[in-house]
């Protein structure tokens, strides 16, 4: 099962994909970047707010460091989010995240990133050719995917 990724991200060759995210109170579309340089999947402050998650009231649980000296504070959201992705046949697959980190950083580009943890936990492989195509791929028989759908039946 392949999930096509976009290559053009604001004229940069960063793999990205439009997904819908189901929160406690709403469904929102979010453009996410795939970042194998990040250990962790991180929801941006902007996207968390559109999902009506009260980031301002949440405590910092972790700090992350990038290539510069600046650190970014993260809070932890444990009420569950569902990421929905479209595969190459336009079928929707849903993946529940029981816990996700949210960036408290209001500055900068406010990009939600899918990190290595998401790829690893859900057995995704990443194919990326900046001059061609990019996609996430997973075994059709993987039991983790569509777990939400199964619960709904």
């Amino acid at each position: 099962m392949k999930f096509p990724l976009r290559i053009n991200y604001k004229e940069r060759f960063i793999p990205n994909v439009l997904i819908t995210v189901l929160g406690l109170r709403s469904i929102r579309p979010i453009l996410v970047a795939i970042d194998t340089g990040s250990d962790t999947t991180i929801l941006s402050y902007k996207d968390a707010n559109t999902l009506q998650i009260p980031v301002k009231d949440m405590s910092t649980v972790k700090k992350i460091y990038g290539i510069g000296k600046d650190e970014v504070e993260l809070c932890e959201y444990k009420k569950g989010l569902v990421f929905s992705l479209k595969d190459e046949s336009n079928k929707t697959s849903r993946i529940k995240l029981d816990r996700i980190y949210i960036s408290k950083d209001k500055e900068g580009a406010n990009i939600t990133i899918i990190g290595i943890d998401f790829l690893k936990d859900n057995n995704f492989s990443l194919y990326y050719n900046p001059n061609g195509q990019a996609y996430l791929e997973k075994d059709d028989l993987d039991k983790n995917i569509d777990q939400v759908k199964e619960k709904e039946k």
Partner: protein, 86 residues
Amino acid sequence: MNIASDYMDNEEKVFENAQKNLKFFDDNFKSFESKFPNRFVAVSGANLVATSETVDDILEKVKERKIDESDLLIEFIPLPGSILVL
């Protein structure tokens, strides 16, 4: 119709509208880059509905203007030629 199918229909509608917004964003990115560098833009109904320098302000503008948030796309416009590091 049960809750699950209602949810799936709604999710499908949100995705389709968001795709249109994303296409509008992509098609107009060069123009946004020259007009709104270092700002956030909000796209809804395949139209530009708000811009701002800060996240909090653009979220506030969207609420004040009672813009449908279900398919809203808010994206940061980097400076032309800048390097984007995640």
